[in-house]
């Protein structure tokens, strides 16, 4: 039982990053109906930026806030300069631009940040020494404790950061005028335009938000793995998009639940089947495969995800 709890707790930290990026994907999908394939690479580029600022002597927190603001602007520029004109051409054009961005930004990260191809050490936002953890349960003899569930400050910090950010996003969606406008654009762009909402500005803002959220996710995730390389965010993007799909691409709540549960499933699959006969086939590297099989099963039963709304098409 303690093992189980330990794996769940380990999974929650990564899962919270997946749900954060999934939230970014959902924000864009609701506005435009497109899956942003370049989300991970946009976050990667910005996360390298955070690392660069940190290496120039800035506090990591300060560097993150600056890059998040810059990413907000950058996301808006990408929407305005690339996605919007492409969207006017055809839906396929948006996919092409996103895939081009994916390759271009990844390559650019490799060019701009020296040593990124081999991987660079990444500092953690939270205390991450050998003794920085809470022990839940377990037995103590004097000052030496063993057993129980170990919850690292790093994992707690990640989870709390992400949950706070998610709560803020929900407040934005539900309680502010901008959020209302965003929901209107997601629900019915034409009607939103008719009542005077500037859809273009809202879409730019969605892209900006998504990018800013992405860099926070990237920085926290690189902190967990203590390393950043050119492939880091691709895997995160993959799991984030899987989480968004699981929850339903147009449901922010679904994205959060999807991300957390995917993180937990990943952690459990990585650790549990070691002792089972098929343990050779399932292990660390195939955890994602198992996660995808589960998602495929869910999608076959509910094609628009667990909490997604199925669109009724009028013929």
């Amino acid at each position: 039982m303690t093992d189980f709890l330990q794996y769940v707790i380990n999974g929650l930290a990564k899962g919270s990053v997946y749900s954060l990026l999934a939230l970014g994907l959902v924000v864009i999908y609701r506005g435009t109906g497109h899956l942003n394939f370049a989300q991970g690479e946009m976050a990667l580029f910005a996360t390298f930026g955070t690392l660069w600022m940190y290496s120039q002597g800035l506090q990591l927190w300060a560097a993150l806030i600056i890059t998040a603001l810059l990413s907000f602007l950058g996301g808006g520029v990408i929407e305005f300069g690339l996605m919007r004109p492409a969207g006017k051409k055809s839906p396929l054009a948006v996919v092409v631009v996103a895939i081009g961005l994916f390759q271009g930004l990844n390559a650019l990260s490799g060019l701009v940040y020296k040593g990124s191809a081999d991987g660079l050490h990444f500092p953690s936002l939270f205390p991450n020494g050998t003794n920085d953890f809470y022990r839940i349960g377990g037995t103590c003899k004097g000052s030496v404790c063993t057993g129980g569930v170990v919850w690292r400050y790093q994992d707690i910090g990640t989870l709390v950061t992400v949950l706070v950010l998610t709560a803020l996003l929900f407040l934005l969606f539900q309680k502010t005028k901008v959020g209302l406008a965003m929901r209107m654009v997601a629900n019915n762009p034409d009607s939103a335009k008719l009542v005077g909402v500037s859809t273009n500005r809202i879409l730019m803002m969605s892209w900006g938000l998504s990018s800013a959220v992405g860099v926070v996710g990237g920085t926290v995730f690189a902190g967990i793995t203590a390393n950043i390389n050119l492939f880091l965010m691709f895997q995160v993007f993959l799991l984030a998009s899987a989480a968004a799909t699981l929850g339903g691409l147009d449901s922010p709540g679904g994205a959060v639940i999807g991300g957390l549960s995917l993180g937990v499933v990943e952690s459990l699959v990585e650790n549990y089947p070691k002792h089972w006969w098929f343990g050779d086939y399932i292990g660390q590297s195939t955890a994602i495969a198992v996660a995808f099989v589960i998602i495929l099963a869910v999608l076959l039963v509910k094609p628009s995800g667990l909490f997604g709304s199925s669109r009724v098409e009028r013929v």
């Binding site: 999908y29 109906g33 497109h34 899956l35 394939f37 690339l82 004109p85 492409a86 051409k89 055809s90 396929l92 054009a93 996919v95 092409v96 631009v97 895939i99 081009g100 961005l101 994916f102 390759q103 271009g104 930004l105 990844n106 390559a107 650019l108 490799g110 060019l111 701009v112 691709f234 993959l238 998009s241 899987a242 799909t245 691409l249 050779d280 086939y281 590297s285 195939t286 994602i288 495969a289 995808f292 998602i295 495929l296 999608l299 076959l300 094609p303 628009s304 995800g305 098409e313 013929v315």
Partner: protein
């Protein structure tokens, strides 16, 4: 004479231009057959493999509107399955071709099943997952069966005697090059004939509006799964060629990144055109090769771009700019420019005997309303 000049479809002039185009391509192929160095032939073979895969992807994405980021898995499956059958089960290398094609066709059909329920980004994600998972599963399989973690040997094909080629390095390269060209041509002809047939029209109808196609009697399930299967089978054939070409294959040769290269090549040439994927693949392959060789020395590039591996970056930028400059790719661009000078006029429809009745009927209906 006023521009554009109209050429009647099916007229002698039209047929002559076709024959000229085919002759020109055949001459180029033959020239490399006679004079090509093994390295050049190798590059051409790789480009042909990329082109065959792009043709397969075009059938699925361009004509049927189903996006797949998973074709690297089919190419890899074709390659690994044939390599395994030849090296471990001692199959005939040509029989392993059938294995690669049939296996990929069946797996493609299976993957086409979720595609029936999933649309757009959901489907893209599932195929992406397949591509992502494939190297891991293949690696595990090889690890268990061969005690060799990541590699599998190629087919080690030798040219058969009736070709007149000797089993030397040069002649083997020539043979595999010809094999790749032949398979590319076969794939092209299959897609071309499919496109102009009843099935091809139903493919496009499904792409443009599923509901309307279903209402007009197109069997959605059949059309979509079969397209997925055929596309996967062609990709599997490309995988077989790569197994014949490479002496060893690693699981790292077939990753999501390769799937993205197929897509970029397809978009560069022009999706939903017949020759687009082939043109795109050749341009992409040789441009990439050129940039890899030469861009290192381009010190005039700004800032961090100078002296680095800029090839993937520049190709990404190129594909993005193509969306705005030439939305239908190179082929679409050339066609649009060519249309200012030559137009191929379609043959006038021959009116069937039943047509007047239909017309009368419809006017009567119009009068009633």
């Amino acid at each position: 004479m006023t521009l554009p000049i109209a050429i009647k479809s099916g007229s002698t002039a039209h047929q002559l231009t076709r024959v000229a185009a085919i002759a020109a391509i055949a001459a180029v192929v033959y020239n490399f057959y006679l004079n090509g160095k093994p390295s050049t032939l190798g590059s051409l073979t790789e480009a042909c493999i990329l082109a065959t895969t792009a043709v397969a992807l075009n059938l699925l994405l361009g004509f049927n509107g189903q996006i797949s980021i998973g074709h690297s898995a089919f190419v890899g499956l074709g390659g690994f399955a044939s390599g395994y059958a030849v090296n471990q089960l001692h199959w005939n290398p040509y029989a392993s071709f059938l294995l690669a094609v049939i296996l990929c066709f069946v797996i493609g059909l299976v993957l086409g099943l979720p595609a029936l329920r999933l649309k757009g980004p959901y489907l893209a994600l599932v195929t992406l997952a397949v591509a992502f998972v494939f190297p891991t599963i293949a690696g595990k399989f090889l690890d268990r069966k061969l005690k060799r973690a990541t590699k599998i040997n190629g087919l080690r094909l030798k040219p058969p005697t009736w070709t007149g080629l000797k089993p030397t390095r040069t002649d083997t390269a020539v043979f595999i090059y010809l094999l790749a060209v032949v398979l590319l041509v076969v794939a092209y002809v299959i897609v071309r004939n499919l496109r102009t047939s009843r099935i091809g029209r139903s493919l496009v109808a499904v792409r443009d509006n599923e509901t309307a196609a279903a209402v007009m009697g197109v069997n959605l399930r059949f059309t979509k799964t079969i397209t997925f299967g055929v596309s996967a089978a062609i990709a599997g054939a490309a995988g077989w060629v790569s197994a014949a070409y490479f002496s060893t294959m690693t699981v790292a040769s077939f990753t999501v990144r390769d799937s993205i290269v197929y897509l970029l090549a397809l978009f560069l040439g022009g999706a939903a055109t017949l020759t687009g994927p082939i043109v795109g693949a050749f341009v992409y392959y040789f441009l990439n090769k050129y940039l890899l060789d030469h861009a290192k020395n381009w010190t005039w590039l700004p800032g961090p771009l100078a002296g680095g591996p800029v090839a993937p970056f520049l190709l990404g930028v190129l594909v993005i700019s193509f969306v705005f400059v030439a939305p239908f790719g190179l082929v679409g661009f050339v066609k649009a420019q060519g249309r200012r000078f030559f137009v191929i006029a379609p043959r006038p429809l021959e009116l069937a005997a039943t047509t007047p009745q239909l017309v009368e009927h419809s006017t009567a209906a119009a009068d009633e309303t």
